[in-house]
């Protein structure tokens, strides 16, 4: 099984399953049971086809090219893993619902797009994969058909379409500068483009919207909670990473774009803190998690922005290779941990929702570890991610702000745990079915072990570095501080902000636009009709004098006279 075949099999398997399901009706009824198996080839591909696999389909689209580099492989692997566990969870979760066939169709489409995004190497296939991962996800968001999910779905779709369009324009501008459609060539041509800032603006808008960068984030806190639990886990864990891989691939990291770096850093940091601020006001545990994803992605974008500061090596301390691909590796690593952890937390909400209040103890404990891990609890995957993050940021204001954001995240996680405890199922004796708890357990294990494995394999320091006392303290003080703050502020009633925060006022503003009606154009034939009738009247009037008989006789002589004069003249 050569690497090339695997590379194609990864995004193609879900589509093949889908096609089979559509064509063979009996298979369509069992489609939900195959959700877990669909991403397996992608997982295998991630390991085997690490960096040397490339496939070129000359006739497909405009010359499809598939490549797998290190960050792509890492993200592909973790995504496949997450989709497998969430797929298993989803199979049991939606067994009861009526539209499970429709759910699985959209699930498979989004899965195929998500896997394709990491391996597409030419602009067109990337755009196809990106489209596949954003638009069909609508089907997952509006699955349960409540008004809340329909409204969330509407905002999701509108913004997804706007994002797609911005991305398309950016890609067009980029492609016109480059001589081939390969992403690597096109990105190299960006700095020298005549419309460089417009192109970068459009690309950042397209990917930022996907990754929840402020102010394009509004759909995320509405859509993620509205979706059924496995879908929210996948939305927050894997689909959001499409925006990150987009930025990794398309931002000209390592070239000097100081003003863009500044813009992205401020936006990233603002999103990080804004997410925390809004998160703590939310009551629904899934909404809290959604805002936490928002803020974590803000951090990753800040990291990526640091890559744009100056040409060549960024200002970070020497040692770790902080060139363009170094930053990409760190971003990928951070994204992997966040994805797995967030997936586990969302599934936990599902599991807790299915267990009685008495039995949620152990689940709560495990979730607490994972949650605080996101905030950087030492010895967890999160700690490693936070350490890696510090490397390229290179001291100064940015690094301190990033460090303090850990406090915010910890606070947010504590708030989440408190909300989670109250979300237990009403029937005290309820026990979660193994179909739910096993996939959750697997995700927790993955969230714990995979970062360590990755760190050992490709981390910038050795394992010992993670347990150095200096680093340990750097990781624990934010959590302690958050604990103290959280305990002392627990009495204060925070104002409850509706999900999607700034979207309410904007929606009210846009309301009149929906009802605009273009006035019908006055039909051109009606004008012609009027002109015609007027002209006809004139002609008939002109002809009338000849009508009476004697006048006709006279006309004969007149004609003879006219002819004589004309000929003589």
């Amino acid at each position: 099984m050569n690497a090339g075949f695997l590379l194609v099999a990864a995004p193609a398997t879900p589509l093949v399953l889908l096609l089979a399901g559509l064509l063979v009706p009996p298979l369509r009824r069992h489609l939900p049971d195959f959700l877990a198996q669909a991403p397996v080839p992608a997982l295998v591909a991630a390991f085997l086809a690490m960096g040397n696999a490339s496939v070129d389909g000359e006739t497909l689209l405009l010359g499809m090219a598939l490549r797998l580099d290190f960050p792509g492989a890492v993200l592909l692997g973790f995504c496949a893993l997450l989709w497998i566990t969430c797929g298993a969870f989803a199979s049991t979760y939606i067994r009861g619902s009526a539209d499970r066939e429709r759910f699985s169709v959209f699930w498979l489409l989004t899965l195929s797009g998500n896997l394709g995004v990491f391996i597409a190497a030419d602009i067109i296939s990337f755009y196809l994969a990106f489209g596949l991962v954003s638009l069909p996800a609508y089907g997952l968001v509006v699955h349960d058909g409540t008004d809340r999910s329909r409204r969330a779905g509407l905002f999701y779709l509108v913004l997804a379409v706007l994002g797609e369009t911005c991305l398309l324009l950016g890609l067009m501008l980029m492609a016109s500068g480059a001589d081939s459609l390969l992403i690597s060539d096109a990105v190299g041509a960006i700095p020298s483009l005549p419309y460089r800032d417009l192109t970068l603006g459009l690309l950042v808008a397209g990917f930022g919207l996907k990754a929840g960068l402020f102010p394009l984030h509004v759909w995320l806190p509405m859509a993620h909670p509205a979706a059924p639990t496995p879908a929210s886990a996948v939305l927050s864990g894997a689909i959001i990473k499409a925006g990150i891989i987009g930025l990794i691939k398309f931002l000209p990291l390592g070239t000097g774009l100081p003003e863009w770096s500044l813009v992205l850093t401020t936006a990233g940091l603002f999103t990080a803190y804004f997410g925390v601020l809004m998160g703590v006001t939310q009551s629904h545990p899934k909404a809290v998690l959604a805002y936490s994803s928002l803020s974590q992605m803000g951090l990753v974008i800040t990291l990526l922005a640091s890559g744009l500061v100056a040409a060549g090596v960024s200002a970070g301390d020497v040692g770790a290779d902080h060139g363009a691909d170094g930053i990409a590796q760190v971003a990928a690593f951070y994204a992997v941990h966040h994805g797995l952890a967030k997936g586990a937390l969302f599934l936990a909400v599902g599991v807790v929702g299915a267990t009685g209040a008495a039995r949620i103890g152990p689940v709560l404990a495990v979730t607490a570890v994972i949650a605080l891990g996101v905030a950087g609890l030492p010895l967890t995957g999160g700690a490693l991610a936070k350490l890696e993050l510090k490397g390229p940021l290179g001291g100064g204001l940015v690094e301190t702000l990033v460090a303090w954001s850990a406090v915010g995240t910890a606070l947010l996680m504590l708030h989440f745990l408190r909300r989670l405890r109250m979300a237990a199922s009403a029937d005290a004796a309820a026990r979660p079915s193994p179909g739910l708890s096993l996939p959750w357990g697997a995700t927790v294990l993955a969230a714990a072990l995979v970062p360590w494995g990755l760190y050992a394999a490709a981390g910038s320091h050795d394992l010992a570095y993670a347990v150095k006392p200096g680093n340990l303290w750097a990781l624990t003080w934010p959590i302690l501080l958050a604990g103290i703050l959280g305990w002392s502020l627990r009495r204060i009633r925070l104002p409850s902000v509706p999900e999607g925060d700034i979207v309410e006022p904007i929606a009210r503003l846009l309301e009149p636009v929906r009802s605009v009606r273009l006035p019908p154009l006055p039909g051109v034939p009606s004008i012609v009709e009027a002109v015609g009738r007027a002209a006809a009247g004139i002609v008939v009037a002109a002809e009338a004098p000849v009508r009476p008989f004697p006048a006709a006789g006279l006309a004969l002589l007149a004609v003879a006279a006219i002819m004589a004069f004309a000929l003589a003249g």
């Binding site: 006809a536 000849v546 006709a552 004609v559 003879a560 002819m563 004589a564 000929l567 003249g569």
Partner: protein, 506 residues
């Protein structure tokens, strides 16, 4: 017929036969009375064969001449057939055959119970008279002989209008007679003036002798005015619609398609053969202006008619206008644009394709009157369903009126248009376009009604025999065929045409 010198070859003998055949036919049918069912159709078929033979001879041998009685020009009467006359002869014969088949249904010499009917008896001799007049006009090369043919034509055509004795047709026929006679009178005055000054009536001889003096100009003016009256050109068009609208279908087909064209043919002969040297642009422009006025007024009035036959009659006025646009556009500037085949052929093409289209329209209207009992346009709803072939023929002939491809009308319009645009006189082109659009309006007004599905299906008052519908369709198809295969008639037309037909006036 002793004494007919057979001229250089059998061709010239055919010319004489072409004039004699219809006259003999008329004389033969009258005594036979009710036993003469088959005779007219045989004669018409023979006429067609004869016209084709003449055309063939002109095609290979060039201009044919026949001096009757062996007397040469100044004394004797000479019959001459060049390309133009051959085409007109062929058109006449080709129109008469289907009209004959169509009329057979309506004008039986013997009615069902064996008695003779007046209309049935008189229709065929009068048709023969018209045919004789037409052939005479197209072949005569002598001014007086033309006058004789014209008079025969008028005297045979006028009774056709009132053949069915309907109330309004008598007044219309008398008005037509008055205009025709006044026209002939003016024509006669002009001919006499020419004869007085030059001593001969033969066209070829006159063409050499005519000088640019007062008598020739006055003669030309009088003759043109007279012929305009007979062609119902714009200021003198009063008599045509009631006459052609009221006449029986077969008669109005012949009147509109051919009779009116005879006097137009003579105006062409006068201007292009007799007086080319002394006529200039102002005269031609006046004729063109009359034509333009006819196009606009004819089309607009056609739009406002309630009855189909009157609509078709007014459309004749409009289409005649196109013919007279030929004069201002003829020649002029063609050496700069050698590819413009000239407005002269365009005009004649239009005359020929209009003949077929108009005959088909009138016969179609006749079938409608017979089939559904009336020809009120507003109540034609469902006609396309019950009389599909007639409405299809109406559509195809409409193409020629509108000048849309693939009809003969389009070729004619294209020839006139390119000449107009090539010589920079785009004014006439605009008139032609306006005419085309107006024609489209009234043709589709009728087709719209016919296409509409009625509440309850339209039942035919009287079944219409298949052969009559086929006759109508045949005429429409010929007008379309003229558009598809115009090369042959075009070549035939150029034979014997004078220099002026290409170069126009000085």
């Amino acid at each position: 017929m002793p004494g007919v010198v057979w001229g250089p070859d059998v061709g010239s003998g055919l010319l004489a036969l072409a004039v004699v055949l219809p006259v003999a036919g008329a004389l033969l049918i009258l005594p036979l009375g009710r036993h003469a069912e088959r005779v007219p159709h045989l004669l018409f078929m023979a006429g067609l064969v004869l016209a084709t033979a003449i055309a063939y001879h002109v095609w290979i041998g060039g201009v044919l001449t026949a001096a009757i009685g062996g007397w040469p020009a100044p004394l004797g009467i000479v019959l001459r057939a060049d390309g133009l006359s051959a085409v007109m002869l062929l058109t006449t014969a080709l129109v008469l055959v289907p009209v004959g088949i169509f009329a057979a249904g309506e004008f039986q010499p013997r009615t069902a119970d064996g008695r003779e009917s007046r209309a049935g008896l008189l229709f065929w001799p009068l048709m023969m008279g018209v045919w004789a007049g037409l052939n005479g006009t197209f072949l005569s090369n002598d001014l007086f002989n033309i006058y004789v043919a014209l008079e025969l034509l008028t005297l045979a055509a006028v009774p056709l209008v009132t053949l069915e004795g309907k109330a309004g047709t008598l007044a219309a026929a008398l008005r037509y007679l008055l205009f025709a006679l006044l026209g002939s009178l003016l024509y006669m005055l002009g001919a006499a003036l020419l004869y007085g000054t030059h001593g001969t009536l033969d066209l070829t001889l006159l063409a050499d002798r005519v000088r640019d003096d007062a008598s020739a100009l006055i003669a030309a003016a009088l003759m043109t005015a007279g012929l305009l009256a007979k062609t119902a050109m714009f200021p003198l068009h009063l008599w045509l619609p009631p006459a052609h609208g009221g006449a029986p279908a077969a008669a109005s087909a012949i009147l509109s398609a051919l009779v009116v064209k005879a006097s137009f043919y003579l105006v062409v002969r006068l201007w292009f053969d007799l007086f080319p040297s002394l006529l200039d642009d102002t005269g031609a422009t006046v004729l063109g202006l009359f034509g333009a006025a006819a196009i606009l007024s004819g089309s607009v009035l056609a739009l406002r008619q309630a009855r189909l036959k009157l609509l078709v009659a007014y459309s004749t006025l409009a289409q005649l206008g196109y013919l007279f646009l030929m004069f201002p556009l003829a020649g002029g500037g063609t050496e700069a644009q050698p590819w413009t085949a000239g407005a002269w052929s365009g005009g004649i093409f239009h005359a020929v394709s209009h003949a077929f289209a108009k005959a088909s329209l009138f016969l179609g209207a006749g079938i409608l009157v017979q089939g559904i009992g009336h020809d009120r346009i507003a109540d034609l709803r469902g006609a396309a369903r019950s009389l599909p072939m007639v409405i299809a023929a109406f559509g195809l002939s409409g193409l020629s009126l509108m000048g849309l491809p693939p009809s003969g009308g389009f070729i004619a319009k294209w020839l006139l248009l390119t000449t107009a645009m090539a010589s920079g006189r785009w004014g006439w082109a605009v008139v032609m376009f306006a005419g085309g659009l107006l024609a489209a309006t009234y043709v589709f007004r009728v087709l719209n009604r016919a296409m509409a599905t009625p509440e309850q299906p339209l039942r035919l008052v009287q079944p219409v025999h298949q052969s009559r519908q086929l006759a109508v369709l045949f005429l429409a198809l010929v007008s379309v065929l003229l558009g598809l295969v115009p090369a042959i008639p075009f070549e035939l037309l150029q034979i014997g045409g004078g220099l002026s037909t290409v170069e126009g006036f000085r």
